[in-house]
Every structure is written in C-alpha cells, then in structure tokens.
Symmetry: C2
Subunit: 321 residues, 2 copies
C-alpha cells in the first residue's frame, strides 16, 4: 500500500525496534538513508540496527565508524532504497516477505513492502527521507546530515547527472547548515581510488579503440589483461562512462571477459542513441543511456558482432564503409 | 571604490554601450558572467559586447553560438571575474586603467576598477552576478541561466569542492527553474575530453610513482614523453589532481618539463599538509591545497630535491628510511 509523507512520519513515531535493511552491493544512497534513519530513530529513544548482505565499502566509513549494533528483538522491518526484495541479497532474503515499510525512489519498486513511500522523481532515497524528517520536524545532527548528503551526492554524480532535482540542490543547501563537511566527503567518495582501480582506468584508456567515423569506442578487457596488470573485474565497476569521454563519441562500449570466451558488455550513450535498443538485439537491455548484454566468442568476433549491431544506429552502412 | 548590490544594480541600469571584459585563458566563470551580463543588458535595450584576449574554448560554445558582436562606441567598461588588470591579457590591456565596474569573487582583487563589487566568500563571479540580477528583478531566460549555472558549476567542480556555498546550491535550484539543461552542460564541461587529453591522463596514470611510505606520488612528464605520445603541455592543465587520487596519498606532485632541464612543479595536498609551505622552500608558492614552483636539473635530480623537501612535512626522516 502506498502511503504519503505524513503517514510515514506517523508510522516511524509509533513503532520501535527497527531492523533497517539496505540493498546488496551497498552504495552511498542505501547506506546514507539506512544510517541516517537509524541515527534519527535512536535519537528518539528507539532501538534500530542497519543490516546488509554485503560488507560496507570503506569510503563510506564515516557513516558507521561509531555505530554499534544493538541487541534487541526486531518488531519493525524497514527497507531503504531497495526496489525489489530480491535486492536484499542472500543474508537478508529471509526478511523479504516481512518488510513493514519501504522508503524508496525507484519507479521500478515492486511494491513488496506492506507500506511504501516512493517518489520516482526524487534523485535519491535520501531525498525522500529528508522530506520525511522535515515532516517529523527532526533536527538533524551533523552525522545524520552527512549521511543524507552522501546519498544525494552519490546518486546524482555530485549534482552532475540529469536526475538531479531542484530539491536535491535545496536540500544540499539546508544540510550544509547542519555542518556537513562536503570537501572531505566528496574527496573520499569521488576522488579517492585504490591503486588497482587506477591501474584499471589506465588500462581502459590505453586499450580504447575508435570505430565508425570515431563515433564509437570499444574497449576489451580480457582475463589475461587483468591477470597481467593486477586488477580484478571488481575494479572495473562504474568505469564504463570512460568509454564516452572522448569528444564526438556517441556510443562507448566496455567489454569484460567474465570467463573464458564469455564477455559482459556495458554500453553507454552520450547522444540521442538509445543503447538499450542495441543491447536488446543481443538479448540484453537497460536504460536509454546505459545498457548491457552478454556475448560469446573471441575478442575479434565480439568486436565484429558489436560493430554490425551498432552501425545502423549511427546511420552508418558498415559494408559500404 | 567598493560598492554594494544595490549600487551595482543602479549603475547597470543607468549606463549603456558596454564592453564586458573577461580574463585571459577564459574559463566557465568569466565567460558565464560575461555572456549572462551581455544578454541581460541587451534584453534591457542596451548595447553590449563580450571581449577576451584569447579564444573561447569550444566546450562553452552554447554561450556564444548565437552571439553577434555589435558595432557601437563603447561608453562603459565592465570586467567580470577579473582579479587583476594584468589578467586581461595582451589584447585587452589597453582597457586596464579605464574599467568602470568590476564584478568579482576573488579576495585578491587589486581594486583596479573605479567601482568594485566583490564577495570573496562567493563560489563564483556568477554567484555574485546572480545576486545583482535578483536585486534588479531581472527575469532570466534559459540561456542567461545556463551561463550563470556553468560559471558556478565550473568554479566549484560541480558542487564538489570546499568553496561550494549554500547559496551556490540555492541558486542552482532557482536556475533549474529557468530551464537549464544541466545534463548536457555538465557532460560537455566535465566529462568530454579531447583524445590528446585522454592520452595525457593515461600517461600520468602509467608514470605515477609512489614514495615516502606511499604517502607521496611523483609523476614526471618530459618533453620527450609529450613528443612520443602526441600531446602538449596544454593537455596537462588541470590534471595535477590525478596525483592525489590514490587512497592514502597525502601529497601529489606533477612535474612538467617546460624547456630542456627546466621543470614546472604542481603540488597538491589531500591532507592537512600545507603544500604552499613546501613550494615556498623552492622559491614558489600558492595555496594550502594547491601550490607550485620551478626546478632545474635532470629528472632524477628533481625527484631527489622534491623528496628531501617533502619528507619532513610527512614526518619522515629520509636518511634513516
């Protein structure tokens, strides 16, 4: 059942002993909303813990460095930024059918929770949660404000992407009033990278190849490359955007070998071309600007498959070129 | 003479036939404030042109693609985001002593203009100019709003740096109401790079070396490197931040060979260490987090000079290590 801001505020006040569930492969938004909600509930004298199936990334360490899980019998199950019970992951799947309240911003939310507050136009779950706290007249302390800021900043690429709302900016201004250290947070979240990640980025830049009148780049990373250079496929997560950085490139493709002869394809658009339409021709899918599919073969064969699939979308007849 | 918002608004209304001067090596803020001011003045029925000693970068093309310089005798000389008459560059230096009005945000403004509106706490000249327009009750059209947004976004690293003000966020929200296409602007300004720039970044990542318990990186780019890889020192501008990306690194140094045996050093801090103090030991200077100096010698000798200068600031005794 969908509920509104006021009903969510009332729900939070009336209940106690919360397990707050975050999604697997936790990001800044699910963690930010989880830890902000936990802090606010505890400050109200309630019990609350934050749970996740996976380990929390170190770059968000400030959110949990002073956090201690408490011992209590859970009475209320809440989920934040979790669009589908499947995304709770293996350790939390047991709670999937028993979520009392979900606070989210995904248009794709499956409605698995008994009560659902979802604003599909919000840039982040933290934006929705901020509105709940305003409705409750909560005075945010610095750490809660930093958690909310981080969720909004990470989901919008630091206010860079098209999903950035006016409200995201307005809220950021209000959170700065609570003492958020945006310089430190943004440096840790956006600018700091592991050595292996930097090696992976360097590899992508050095292997990038231009095709189709330089409107398309393809970068193939093989298992042998990763072995030789000393990085894993984990370090390649979130790097597909590099493939559309060159001026004039409309479609960028990052191809990662997952197992011998099996390749995961991540496709990005920096133009009006809908890459989900291209990927669906290969049995994949996704969004207009970011999509993916899986292909089999050797590297050269993969490249040919991709180019023949992409060329018509760029208005290029490959066989006459 | 320093004037306030209201006096600036009155000045702009009372005068006509403006030459609007931007600083040399124009960036998003000087161009954004220049073209926004020009557009607003023209919409008020006045004559105004935007002038610059250097060519405008293509990535800000949307600001000037429909702009046509007019023919008129200049009566009023205004400068935007220009802290010092010297920064007007060779073509505009003739106006240096005759600037009637300067709108700026640099604490270092030399006061060369007859009337000066400067807010040193503002994140950008465009933030100051937005306040002037509000004082004048100007209704901004989409293009003027996009110019102002671009200035604020570029000077704050898209709201990422510590100079981002609450007002920067509040203004961004208001400018979005005027129809600013933040997705397109931010992609062109922040994500799009020339091939040569991407090669330069790849080179920096591949040549970066770790020193002093991995708390310091040094990357040396020689004239021979640039020749071989096909990029120029222009492509290295604004890349020094890469040297402090690795986790744990406190000081990053980018060393560019300017002429045979003469090196320009750019130093960045990602910690409490004040790199301007280090650079001043080498006859240079700058800010706490970003400073520079010039050194002579060969690459190995430069490295030793730098390491012996940096080590004490990291609490490391180089000769015992």
């Amino acid at each position: 059942m969908q509920i509104n801001l006021n009903e969510t505020a009332e729900f939070l006040k009336e209940h106690d002993n919360y397990y707050i569930l975050t999604h697997q492969s936790p990001d800044g938004d699910t963690m930010g909303s989880g830890f902000a909600l936990c802090r606010v509930l505890r400050n109200m004298g309630k019990n609350a813990n934050v749970l996740c199936s996976d380990e929390f990334p170190r770059k968000y360490g400030f959110m949990y460095e002073d956090y201690e899980p408490r011992k209590f019998a859970p009475e209320t199950i809440a989920a934040v930024d979790v669009a589908d019970a499947k995304l709770l992951g293996s350790k939390l799947s047991q709670y999937g059918d028993y979520v009392d309240l979900c606070i989210d911003h995904h248009v794709s939310n499956t409605g698995y929770a008994k009560k659902l507050l979802v604003y599909p136009d919000a840039s982040a779950a933290c934006e929705v949660l901020y509105r709940v706290f305003s409705e409750m007249d909560v005075k945010l302390d610095k750490l809660a404000a930093e958690c909310l800021y981080t969720g909004i900043a990470t989901d919008t690429g630091c206010f860079k992407y098209g999903n950035t709302t006016k409200l995201a900016h307005t809220i950021a201004a209000k959170l700065m009033d609570c003492g958020v250290d945006i310089e430190r947070i943004n440096r840790d979240v956006f600018d700091r990278k592991s050595k292996a990640r930097l090696i992976a980025e360097q590899h992508i830049l050095s292997e990038m190849e231009y095709y189709l009148d330089d409107k398309c780049t393809i970068t193939i990373v093989t298992l042998a490359d990763m072995e030789k250079k000393g990085f894993s496929s984990e370090e390649l997560e979130g790097t597909a955007g590099i493939t559309v950085q060159p001026e004039g490139v409309q479609i960028g493709v990052l191809v990662k070998e997952k197992e011998k002869g099996k390749f995961k394809v991540s496709m990005r658009s920096a133009s009006e071309v809908d890459v989900s339409a291209i990927c669906s021709k290969f049995g994949g899918g996704g969004h207009v600007k970011a999509a993916g599919c899986t292909l089999e073969g050797d590297a050269d064969n993969i490249k040919l498959q991709l180019l023949s699939g992409i060329a018509p979308f760029l208005g290029i007849d490959l066989w006459l070129a």
